[in-house]
Amino acid sequence: MKKIFLILFIMTGFLPAQTFIVKKVKGEVKAQIGVSEKWQPVKKNAELNSQTTLMTSKNSRIVLQYGKEKIKIKNLSIISLKGIKKLTTDELLLALAMENILDVPNKKKNINNSPNTAVYGKEINGKTKAVINKNDFGKMRLNGAKQLAENGYIESAIIEAMETYRKYPDTKKLSDYRIYFANLLVKKRLYDEALTEYNKIIELKLDKNEKLQVKKQMAFLKKKLLR
């Protein structure tokens, strides 16, 4: 009977909602739930849902229990718990394709969106009320993506990294992170996508070691793709 129930569960997709239980907290760990603007402290044994985003500070870390799995999140990371899910390679490819789908269609004709002639307000030199330096925020997002990969969620890690590049464009210059996630693409045998990424990376300021590594990978990918 149990077997039947299990099969039914799988077939009908009635999986229980993802719940994460906080097993260990060290240092300051904050959570942002859903569309909330607030970051609130995370305490041991708290139950978190997949709409939660966690942020670890300089000397903090957190361990989550997710079913039978233990997820370790290191310091200086921001991680969306929705990313902790197994994706297929096809789903990864679809997610990567969405980047282009989201873009505004490139119409040749002049887009009639000229701004209103009435001018309100004035430029204030980009001063904001940001709680954290935006570059660090982006870098912490990439750290979070790395944690996903280290916990075995490579597909989600790649998606998170790509989204971070778009939302935090300064992170595109972080060559070490770019190389790390490009290597994940290679690991998933997405050679085309990986080569596109390396072609962008080679344009960045790279140190000697990185340049060598990128060129080696590019040669390998070209060879693979030529087959």
Binding site: T53, M98, V104, P115, A118, Y120, I124, Y168
Partner: protein, 630 residues
């Protein structure tokens, strides 16, 4: 092909069904003569034909269709000067007048009839005794005359392009009039009833084989051929015929040569008999055998006939024909621009000519279009079929609040002055607020009432000028959107669409006036308001697996990703879209049915968009679609 067998004979003798390919007017004149002992020539025939729609009428006058016979009775009269005069009889047979009518049921089938008026005159010289003081004999001529009408019916059928068949009656109806014949009835034209069967086959292009069989055991067999020459054609034909009452078995041949072009034709034809003609015959034999045909009988001589015909075509030739029209879109009056770029109907049109033609399509939807609407011309190769698209224009003044079925007239023309063909098809014209459920077409509703909405938006922003003045310029699209949304929702209530088919969408002005609407109406209104102040928007189409879908809105804050933090500390509440210049810009989702406030609508919009479009890969899988308004 589609012409009767042996057309070069060109007479209703072999065409009792009055078959005709004439387009309009035709005039024919034949002049000829017989090669008897002394050659005589005269006007044979004058005919006029006219086609009107599917009908053809012909009328002809035949002064040359005449045959005279002179008989010596054997009796002689000694005149007073001792000379003798032999008494004679003269029989004259004439066909005077003919009339024909035919009707073309289809391109393959036609039927018709012909009627002809004949006259027979018998003059016999007789000697009448005159009794007075002495006995005189007076030489006089007794004349007996009779007229009769012959009416015959026929059918022509062309089952395939290169075969034509015909069947017709012979002497079916025979009506005599003005009959004063007593003693000469035995000399009348013999008129046995029968049938005429014809076939014409074109085994190879330019050659027709013709065969005609009369049940009275006569037949004709021959061929005709046509070759192009300059702007006309040369035709030759040769027909042999067998007549039960003539010998040898093949009694003679009918050769003909003709030149025809679009407007006129000249035909020289003749009859050559293979045996010397009977120039004398005893009256007793004549009494038994008689004649059955005025033109062709055992006493006929070789003939030559020159025929000239003119075709006066006042009706332009139909170069193109509409085979069918498919209505590919019902008319939704709100979708103005849609019918300028996408056809509402597609016709299959065939080029009936040997040349490439340019077809100009036009249409008029009755009760909708005020004028005929012209669509782009299409070139069609010779004898090819092409799809012709019909576009239309929605009149500015169309405000019908009820759907109705009307008719669309479709025209195609290869000239400026006249249409080659016309086709009519019913079409549904929906009410002014009708929507086909396709989110892309909501854009058409957004474009309406621009002046009203622009005025409304500017008034709202002017009221909030002081607030906007304190805001960073880069943030102005975001705050304008917020102020405009909050102003709208102050007065509004969300109304679920009572129509399960979601086939009704309010125009922006209507939603403001009605102070409410469903997700379609509110998204249309908010988009129209934002677009009117230059804020770029997009509709999000959440396609349902079952039942009703949902629509909400995205708008472009025009902030760069680096400045997204100016509006939120939660980076899941926005997403990045590259614009047409390749610049990344921050867009946010708004749930327009959330009539609480902007921030709440943003939160709800984000949750819906992130969940359906991004996390569930709805955008990539096609379950969610972004429809940019501009």
């Amino acid at each position: 092909m589609n012409k009767p067998a042996n057309t070069l004979l060109n007479s209703i003798e072999s065409n009792p069904s009055n078959f005709s390919n004439l387009k309009d007017w035709g005039i024919e004149l034949s002049y000829g003569g017989e090669f008897a002992n002394s050659t005589t020539s005269n006007l044979y025939l004058l005919s006029i034909s006219k086609s009107i729609a599917h009908s053809n009428f012909s009328i002809r006058y035949t002064p040359g269709y005449q045959k005279d016979f002179l008989f010596k009775s054997g009796q002689s009269v000694v005149l007073g000067d001792s000379s003798t005069q032999t008494l004679s009889s003269k029989f004259t047979y004439k066909e005077i007048f003919g009339f024909g009518y035919s009707y073309r049921l289809t391109d393959k089938l036609s039927f018709g009839f012909t009627t002809r008026l004949f006259n027979q005159e018998f003059n016999n010289e007789v000697v009448d005794p005159v009794f007075s003081d002495s006995l005189f004999f007076n030489l006089t001529t007794e004349t007996e005359k009779t007229n009769f009408w012959k009416i015959d019916f026929g059918i022509n059928f062309s089952p395939i392009e290169n075969v034509s068949l015909s069947v017709a009656s012979i002497n079916l109806i025979d009506v005599s009039s003005k009959t004063d014949i007593t003693s000469n009835s035995v000399y009348e034209i013999k008129r046995p009833k029968g049938a005429l069967l014809g076939a014409s086959i074109s085994p190879i292009k330019q050659i027709n084989l013709n065969f005609l069989y009369e049940t009275t055991q006569s037949f004709m067999a021959g061929f005709d051929s046509e070759f192009d020459l300059a702007d006309g054609s040369i035709g030759v034909s040769l027909t042999s015929f067998h007549d039960k009452y003539q010998s040898p078995y093949i009694a003679g041949i009918v050769p003909a040569i003709s030149y025809q072009n679009k407007n006129f034709g000249v035909t020289l034809s003749g009859v050559k008999y293979f045996r010397d003609r009977n120039t004398t015959q005893s009256i007793s034999v004549f009494e038994t055998e008689g004649i059955r045909n005025i033109l062709n009988n055992k006493y006929s001589f070789d003939k030559a006939v020159l025929t000239i015909n003119f075709r006066l075509n006042t009706i332009a030739q139909e170069k193109a024909k509409i085979l069918n029209v498919n209505i590919v879109q019902e008319i939704f009056p709100a979708f103005e621009d849609n019918y300028l770029t996408k056809p509402f109907a597609v016709a299959k049109v065939v080029n009936k000519t040997d040349n490439i033609i340019r077809v100009k399509p036009s249409s008029k939807i009755i009760g909708f279009n005020r004028d005929i609407i012209y669509s782009p011309s299409v070139s069609i190769n010779a004898h090819d079929t092409a799809e012709v698209h019909f576009y239309t224009i929605v009149p500015d003044t169309y405000t019908n609040k009820k759907s109705k079925v009307s008719y669309a007239d479709f025209y195609i023309s290869t000239r400026n002055d006249e249409n080659d063909d016309k086709f009519q098809k019913p079409i549904l014209i929906n009410k002014i607020n009708a929507w086909d459920g396709k989110v892309i077409h909501l854009k058409e509703f957004i474009k309406k009432d621009q002046n009203f909405i622009m005025k409304y938006a500017k008034e709202v922003l002017s009221e909030n000028k002081s607030k906007l003045d304190t805001i960073v310029y880069s943030l102005s699209p975001f705050y304008k959107a917020k102020i405009l949304f909050d102003n709208l929702v102050k007065k509004f209530v969300y109304v679920a669409d009572p129509n399960a088919t979601s086939d009704f969408v309010q125009f922006p002005k209507q939603t403001i006036e009605l102070k409410g609407g469903d997700c379609d109406d509110l998204s249309v209104l908010y988009s129209a308001v934002l677009e009117s102040v230059g804020i770029q928007t997009a509709l999000v189409d959440y396609k349902p697996e079952k039942g009703l879908g949902h629509v909400n809105l995205l708008f472009n804050t025009e902030l760069s990703p680096r400045r997204a933090k100016w509006i939120t500390d939660n980076d899941s509440k926005y997403f990045i879209r590259k614009n047409s210049k390749g610049e990344d810009q921050v867009w946010i989702a708004i749930e327009t049915t959330s009539l609480t406030n902007f921030m709440k609508a943003w939160d709800l919009g984000t949750e819906k968009f992130n969940n359906e479009a991004l996390n569930k890969l709805g955008l990539a899988k096609g379950r969610v679609e972004i429809v940019d308004v501009q």
